[in-house]
Amino acid sequence: MPHDDHDHHHEHSHEHGGQPYRHPFQRDHDADPASPYEVLEQAIRELLIEKGILTSEEIYAQVDLMDSRSPALGAKVVARAWVDPAFKDRLLANTRAALAELGIDIGSLADFRVVENTADVHNVIVCTLCSCYPKMLLGIPPAWYKSLAYRSRVVVDPRGVLREFGLELPDHVEVRVHDSTADLRYFVLPRRPEGTEGWSEEQLASIVTRDCMIGTAVPVEPATSAAAE
């Protein structure tokens, strides 16, 4: 409902550094004083609510939606692609529709593309311009993904950066860096490790980490994986 219909009093809270908050909200952390960007975000959020463009409820709903996404969702998709070649084909051809088959709605803000690792190609994802990331599948990105160091170095020296992650690629394998410059979000479909024949989808999903889907890691062989028990 429009904000103007609220009959609450606009009481000002002064508990955080004396800044008045007209609408109650949860702070993620207790940094005090708030950074200039936090103050800017607060001001814009307050204005959007005041003008009836968004409601507090809509903002909370979006925060809840983002919090519901985690790398476990992506791992489930990868495991399904490993056990079901027809699903994998659909995932590569029309990612949005294939994810919808699993009940995953990626929203309308950006479309998704899957890049498949093979015996000859290893893919790694970056956004050099900002921090574009397949959030609707992997959740909130790790801090390093958004760091200037990763964003600038992985395009210049991908093999060196991957080595720092503990991933040494054979010389014959092509390293293919994908810079998410525009309206598409990328995620990596890693290779299924040898020795996982007969594993259930749940077992397979357990070895697919977030970094495997960014491309800075590969699923660990069952010999050294806890999932191999």
Binding site: R113, T128, L129, V155, V156, D157, P158, V175, V177, T181
Partner: protein, 108 residues
């Protein structure tokens, strides 16, 4: 609203324009002036350079997946000659160099 027809085809060799753009744009500086090959046509999207300033973003721009040889991007590239970088570039930043990819270096 009909989608604009792509001017380029998969396999076309293109160069990214090296112009300076004022304001917001999605063409990284490190790719400006560089030559690559179209490997995908991603569809038509609202123009981010207009969207950023509250314009409708029309006409929509066709977005291409462009593949660059890493050794073409960085003179002292420390990886392997068969390493590549791919980026999504809007049509109004691309110029066709030739209609055929160099088959030796850009094979998928």
């Amino acid at each position: 609203m009909s989608a604009p027809a792509p001017r380029f085809r998969i396999g076309d060799v293109v160069r990214v324009d090296s112009r300076m753009a004022l304001g917001h744009c999605r063409t990284p500086f490190f790719l400006r002036g560089k030559t690559g090959v179209i490997v995908g046509i991603q569809g038509a999207f609202h123009d981010p350079e207009k969207l950023a300033y509250h314009k409708p973003g029309l006409p929509r721009q066709v977005l291409y997946k462009v593949r660059f040889k890493q050794s073409d991007l960085w003179p002292n590239y420390r990886g392997k000659p068969h390493d590549h970088l791919e980026a999504d570039i809007y049509e109004h930043w691309l110029m066709r160099i030739s209609a055929e990819a160099r088959s030796d270096s850009h094979a998928a």
